[in-house]
């Protein structure tokens, strides 16, 4: 293939879906080899492959497709049937579907569903976190246009990755106010009177301080209007241990109310960073004395 761009990509982008389908169909009738070469060209994006699937079927080209394209077509068929694809080695193809397809998000509902499901498979099945910035880009771009975001938002936080919070915090600085509002909603914070930059800085600081103790809850807009996709494990923060067992019992701490637990956890976390010796001394005190000291300090 000569030139910088793929001809079918160019036609679709310049003249639209119909023109691209018609050109490809004509080519299949008269220059089948060229049609196959164009469709298997590495520069072809998923959106173009997707719109040409009916023509590929019409001319029985499936056996001539590259392994990647073949897998992509099979993945699309599974998703249309709402079945989890059972093919092996699909992670790379899913990444290609998502990253190259993200540029054409909004092509049609079925296409967007495939994009959402590719993201879902990559995160839920392959625990792939490289794609989080792409997923965020799609969420916020759709949000700006009023598109459907809720499945993707759910998937994004299903990654249970702190990176998801850092990326979302970055959108607090967006020029698009609708996206700033969404970022606030997802981070569960209120508008800061001191401005976007201060809001971002505060959030970033919060993530930095708490990241070992952040837990993802799985809450989403299907469950609640104020989903809390993540939360702080206060007991973990109090003990300054990121991997405490669920069975770890500290009856004196467990019996406190949420506000007292949070106060103790915040103070303990800060003291731990400042001086390990002081922290050890603090932890040896009775819980009432700890709470008094923490309240005095944090007041």
């Amino acid at each position: 293939m000569r030139g910088r761009n793929n001809l079918l990509e160019d036609i679709r982008k310049r003249y639209g879906t119909e023109e691209c389908i018609n050109t490809f169909r004509e080519m299949c009738k008269t220059q089948k080899d060229r049609a196959v070469a164009l469709i298997n060209d590495a520069r072809l994006g998923f959106a173009t492959l997707y719109i040409l699937i009916p023509v590929i079927k019409e001319f029985d080209l499936s056996e001539h497709l590259s392994p990647k394209n073949n897998r992509a077509v099979t993945i699309c068929e599974s998703i249309k049937k709402r079945k989890e694809p059972t093919l092996a080695d699909i992670e790379g193809t899913l990444e290609w579907i998502l990253t190259s397809g993200s540029e054409d998000d909004g092509l049609c509902d079925e296409f967007d569903t495939i994009i959402d499901d590719a993201a879902s498979l990559l995160i839920n099945k392959f625990h792939n976190s490289k794609i989080l910035p792409t997923v965020a880009k799609i969420i916020f771009s759709r949000n700006a246009k009023g598109g459907y975001i809720h499945d993707l938002v759910w998937v994004f936080f299903r990654s249970r990755n702190i990176e998801a919070l850092v990326i979302t915090a970055g959108y607090l600085l967006s020029k698009n106010e609708k996206n700033v509002r969404l970022a606030r909603e997802l981070l569960n914070i209120h508008e800061d009177v001191s401005g976007k930059k201060a809001e971002y800085k505060k959030m970033f600081q919060w993530i930095k301080e708490n990241y070992p103790y952040i837990r993802f809850t799985g809450e989403n807009f299907l469950y609640s209007s104020r989903p809390n996709p993540f939360d702080i494990d206060v007991k973990s923060k109090y003990l300054c241990k990121s991997d405490i067992a669920k069975t770890d019992q500290i009856p004196e701490f467990d019996s406190l109310d949420k506000e007292a637990q949070t106060t103790l956890a915040d103070f303990s976390g800060r003291l731990f960073k400042r001086s390990r010796t002081d922290w050890e001394k603090f932890m040896k005190q009775p819980i009432e004395a700890q709470l008094e000291e923490a309240r005095r300090y944090l007041r």
Binding site: R82, N124, G146, H150, W154, F221, Y223, S225
Partner: protein, 253 residues
Amino acid sequence: MITIGRMQADTNELMVGYPENSIERKIISGMSAAEGTYRFGSREELEFEVNLRTEIVNSAWALYRSNMDFAVFRESRCNPYYWRKTREGGFMLNESVSPYDAVIDIYTNGREYATECATAMIIVYYGALAKVYGKELFDSVFSFIHLMNWHYIDRNLKEIGYMIRPRAYLPGDRRYVVNPDVNPVTPEWRGENLIDLSDGKYYGHGIGVYTVEVFIRALNNNRREDADEEAYFMETAANPNYSHLYGIYRRYN
């Protein structure tokens, strides 16, 4: 326990006038047996909550019987005379139609509508309020309606989106079954919103009226291949702010 004003209420006396085994009696006895206290400013306020909860249950049954279909948001559909489908798949009330008539149309022409379970819950609340408020008040309070999920809720109903651990589980509560290991390509099965119909029965749109075990089984059947966590019933519940809705009702009447 129930208090009216500052006085503990006599549960038996409150139940007078309601038939044996009625939803109303179950609500009152549930409140009375709760560990926490249900506080009301007046008997009318208590009766309003009992009445609205009962209508939530009735509306859930009515929506179940309306034959409204289940569809994911991208494939949702509505009667275009009353509603406009948004890009997200929600339904926005058309201008110059009565909100009351538009809500009632969902119950009478259910086959023309298809949506997800969260939207169905919101329709149940509007259906119940249409009954309790009547056309004139309903139309004036809910002049703009956007039906979708908990992301878009009228300010008068915002509490239906907040899930909290309740003092007691009562008929009319919204509950949730969560499916942590859902099949990645069927995210609509990641959970099911339910309305407590009493006697261990729940309404969940798209599945039907069953015990919670049936909903759990349905969600478990839609998990990913290597799933290791089962779907489970959450301990939280959501309700409208009955006191606020009563305030609107009282000012009108």
